[in-house]
Amino acid sequence: MPSSTRGCAVPDITESGIAGPDTTADAVASSPLLAVRDLRVAFRTRAGVVNAVNGLSFSVAPGEVLGIVGESGSGKSVSMYSMMGLLDNPNATITGSARFDGAELIGMPTKRLNRIRGNRISMIFQDPMTALTPVYTVGWQIVEQIMNHEKVTKAEAWSRAVHLLDEVGIPDAERRARSYPHEFSGGMRQRVMIAMSLACHPSLLIADEPTTALDVTTQRQILELIGDLQAKYGSSVILITHDMGVISEAADRVIVMYAGRAVEMGDESTVVRRPRHPYTWGLLGAIPKPGQRKQRLPTIPGLPPGPRDQPTGCPFQKRCRFAMEQCSTLPPLIATGEEQNHLDACWLPDEVREELREEVA
């Protein structure tokens, strides 16, 4: 992301503060665009209840880029879908609250939700190959979105669609608007998705692993594009990924998720440079570092807990080298260090953390 974006976004965040489950939420100066409180999603399955999201709380300030990082299955997508009312699974139970601009999204009737979805909040997905309806031209699909939310003529909507396509860098947009999704490459389709998501100038863009399925060079293009557009329209962005590098380059603030919970939350630079949670340490440590060829990588032993075996207490305790007795009770997500907006959920005393982190790395 261009550094200018970063420059103007950072001050906002320092003011906005972070709300954990225990902090009384509205110690926030400028009210957040989205405030999620204790979000829980459970699926009833034949094999028992799967708790996919376990009390997730966070907020997004206007204009900021919030990165959510975590391993596969940590509940990143499910939490977003539940907010957006995209979980049509009848066996899913969603509790908690997600206030968007003052309106409660959880439990909102679909009719009302449809006025927000695609209009004020829009979303792009991981796999651009399947996210567009294959039987309609991309222009048609963008026009559909515009006309769904605004009273404009078809011609107007069409010219706006072409304009959008042009803006996301699709050459010869006028002609390409009449093409079908399969006629585009993956990167181009993701651009189309972005164009579509920006069609109604949303105040929040949720990007669920928008580049995972793409090549590095294309990933670079897309990240730049999101950055540029975010700067231009001033939307907030929730960027979901499992690539620390992407987070590090694109996000203002980071949430690290593990087993349906946020285990660490804070400014990008602090979280990446001075992570506080042992899981984050492991995560960062496991990434091969340039210039450290052929060295053994520090690993996190074991596997993330399966969806069915949710431990009581700290979900990470089984894999944690520093697990102690206290870990059998669930640690709260609070600021334990000196930085007030750097929260983590771990019982380790503040004093030993630095030391232990060095040990791990």
Binding site: S72, E224, A286
Partner: protein, 334 residues
């Protein structure tokens, strides 16, 4: 030098209504030295897997030769290939589709032993338990089916299967691409340990440049079926000679660790063209910032530039000092 590819070409006929062919690998020559790890990187569709399958003769070559331990295996029949297979194994990308969902893990790992009858029938269970233990499993897991395992675990099962016959060369096609970082590290460590222990030679295919850098002694960069650069890993990452390599390296999202320098970003325009209609001349020229007239017309050949090889008309300047890797001297490759 255990494995050597000489001018390997693989084309596929397009099926169905479209006519024509796709040239997935277009004349790649490479030598793999004994005991080294050769990384192959490139974007999706550039022919990495196809090349890997040519090396292991899972598919027939269109032209060119592959020599394994001095023997030309490029036109051996499937029967004649069988002894070669014992020494030359492959690990696949997708941990979900590379294991037969209807076989128990023990059977999967025992399959090569049964096919080659290298092990006494009664000794197979022990050998399987051994192998499973070696890749970090409790032998009691042997009775389970693949669907009960996570991606990383499955990948380890795939590795155990490949190791069953004590091969000397392992071609690993994106063995960690589908895995999460924490699991990826486990697998990478395992591969490193096995190499130390058995003196294996790896051909390591991946698109994650960080991983490739971490594991490889030498790295080959492919673009649209062509080998565009081949160099020692350190040299290549320090100073790429091909513009594509440079762009690729700069595109890696980097964690801003304290003190780590950032690469200059080069954002390439456009997508990777389809191999079905390759651009004329240098395949990279439509996206290359330094492309000139000659690039459009003439296809660059792979030439030696110091200790490395590059296929570019206008290579980037590289430091002249040669970095000598522990594994060997530079070799001339046609």
């Amino acid at each position: 030098m255990v494995l050597r590819a000489d001018n390997v070409v693989k084309t596929f006929a397009l099926r169905g209504k479209q006519k024509g062919t796709v040239t997935a690998v277009d004349g790649v020559s490479i030598e793999v030295r004994s005991g080294e790890t050769l990384g192959i990187v490139g974007e999706s569709g550039c022919g990495k897997s196809t090349f890997g399958q040519c090396l292991t003769r899972l598919i027939d070559l269109t032209s060119g030769t592959v020599e394994f331990e001095g023997e030309d295996i490029s036109s051996l029949s499937r029967r004649r290939l069988r002894p070669v297979r014992r020494r030359l194994q492959m690990v696949f990308q997708d941990p979900y589709s590379s294991l037969n969902p209807r076989m128990r893990v023990a059977d999967i790992v025992a399959e090569p032993l049964r096919i080659h009858r290298t092990t006494d029938r009664r000794a197979i269970p022990d050998r399987v338990a051994d192998l499973l233990e070696r890749v970090g499993f409790d032998p009691s897991m042997a009775g389970r089916y693949p669907h009960e395992f996570s991606g990383g675990q499955r990948q380890r099962i795939g590795i155990a299967r490949a190791l069953a016959l004590n091969p000397s060369v392992l071609v690993a096609d994106e063995p960690v691409s589908a895995l999460d970082v924490s699991v990826q590290a486990q697998v990478l460590n395992l591969l490193a340990d096995l190499q130390d222990e058995f003196g294996l030679t790896y051909v390591f295919i991946a698109h994650d440049l960080g991983v490739v850098e971490h594991v490889s002694d030498r790295v080959a960069v492919m673009y649209l079926g062509d080998l565009v650069e081949l160099a020692d890993a350190e040299e290549l990452y320090a100073s790429p000679a091909h513009h594509y390599t440079e762009a690729l390296l700069s595109a890696i999202p980097q964690i801003d660790r304290d003190g780590a320098p950032r690469r200059e970003r080069i954002v390439l325009s456009g997508d990777v063209p389809s191999p079905a209609n390759r651009p004329s001349g240098c395949p990279f020229h439509p996206r290359c910032p330094a492309a000139t007239e000659i690039c459009r017309k003439e296809r660059p050949t792979l030439r030696t530039l110091g200790s490395r090889q590059v296929a570019c008309h206008h290579p980037l300047p590289v430091p002249t000092t040669r970095v000598v890797t522990p594994t060997g001297q530079s070799q001339s490759v046609r």
